[in-house]
């Protein structure tokens, strides 16, 4: 769920850019470290950014009958790690703004914060928690992808509510309004994206177990099980 170009007041646009920059900077630092240890990761992350962009252009069938596009937040975080997703997400969001006029350059910081920071970190944390709690692999993936999607949209609603508080009810009423309005599309979308991510991961486990092990998504023991 992108925030439109020029929609946020200038203080908020700058504020969210400042809030996002340490995460992007740390992501770049961790990517540089990965590049030094495994030089082939340079190409992998570049192609992964293109993959995320292409993913966002696909039509995702929604359980309500409408269709939208997957965010790829959960899948990307599980495959490439949450820290790498901040710079990858920044590149993808910038490309979406320039090539598709989706989102914007002034709102890039806010969109990075919700989609490339909150979403991936939430997905990675939920996936790890679910695996620690010994939940089934497919259910862990579903929880990670769908809850990351929901948290992304809740963050965007909070960003909009902060920028445009309700004249009578303030932040709380505005947040309830934005979250309520977007819930009609975002909750079915989150469920669809969760199901889709499970189908993708099941296919990968079945046909590309070696690649998943190399990406450190699953262990040899998990694959045997």
């Amino acid at each position: 769920m992108h925030i439109m170009e020029g929609f946020l007041p200038v203080q908020h646009a700058i504020g969210w850019s400042v809030a996002s920059s340490p995460f992007v900077a740390y992501g770049l630092h961790s990517i540089n470290k990965r590049f030094r240890e495994q030089p082939e990761q340079r190409m992998l992350l570049g192609v992964a950014a293109a993959f995320t962009f292409v993913l966002s252009a696909l039509k995702l069938p929604s359980v309500t009958g409408s269709c939208s596009h997957p965010t790829g937040t959960g899948l990307g975080a599980i495959l490439f790690g949450p820290t790498a997703m901040a710079p990858i997400g920044a590149v993808v969001l910038m490309f979406q703004a320039i090539l598709l006029a989706h989102g914007g350059l002034t709102t890039l910081g806010a969109n990075i914060f919700s989609m490339a920071i909150v979403g991936p970190f939430a997905a990675a944390a939920i996936y790890r928690l679910a695996r620690t709690a010994r939940l089934p692999f497919g259910f862990s993936i579903f929880l990670a992808a769908s809850l990351a999607d929901l948290l992304t949209y809740i963050t965007t609603s909070a960003q909009l509510a902060l920028a445009f508080p309700d004249p009578s009810g303030g932040f709380a009423a505005s947040f309830a309004k934005f979250a309520g309005v977007f819930a009609f599309t975002q909750i079915p979308l989150a469920i669809s994206e969760g199901l889709l991510t499970v189908v993708v991961m099941n296919s990968l486990v079945r046909f590309n177990a070696r690649e998943l092990q190399q990406m450190k998504v699953t262990t040899a023991q998990e694959l045997k099980a």
Partner: protein
Amino acid sequence: MLTEQSAYTNRWRKVSPVAKGFFSLCGTIAAFAAGSPRTALLIALILAAATIRGAGIPPLRYLRVAAPALLFLAASCLSLVFSLDFGGTTGGAALYPAVAEFPRIAQVCCRSLACLTALLFLSLTTPLPDIITLLRHCKLPDTLLDLMVLCYRTLFVLSEAVHETITAQSARLGYASFRLSLRSLGSLLANLTVQVWQRSQALHLAALARNNDGALRFLESSHANASKSISIAAGAGAVMIALAVALP
């Protein structure tokens, strides 16, 4: 992609990206500096006219590129029009039009529209590799620029792979129902994920064969009369900002 087609075929294709980037930035500043919705609309009109009349982008193509963003803008503005009251007469929450907020909402919508036209000016007149060169001049980290270059160079390859797979799946009724759509899309993405892995390995080998030692380096395209273009863009941009500040 319509944006890319326009960026490579417009009249200002050979104009320095610094000049176009600067003019677009001035447009954005003017949009934020505009004191009223009418002034923001004037800025939007100037930027749209510069793109259509100046760069020679066909108006219909401009509208086709702008249409999804305009619809999104309309939906975003509509969400601002209504206010939520928790302490209504019935005791529950009630949605009502926030009439007193209409001037502020109009200002936000017109500002957003003007910013959108500034963004469209840049994206429809400047190919993405030129924008990446511009960002390189702005001293963005090399790693981020490498990601951008690799992303740009492979996204069309992956898009083609997606298009061909969807055609093949559709021919086998792979998208006939919700369940089939989800299954087809899932196998398409799983296949694409593996392609990401395999293509990146092939790219790495190709780079190694060319003695790549880390960062990716590309020749920059040169632009004739760059300083003249930058001066004109700076002048026009300054006039636009002055208009936005001076007009009520």
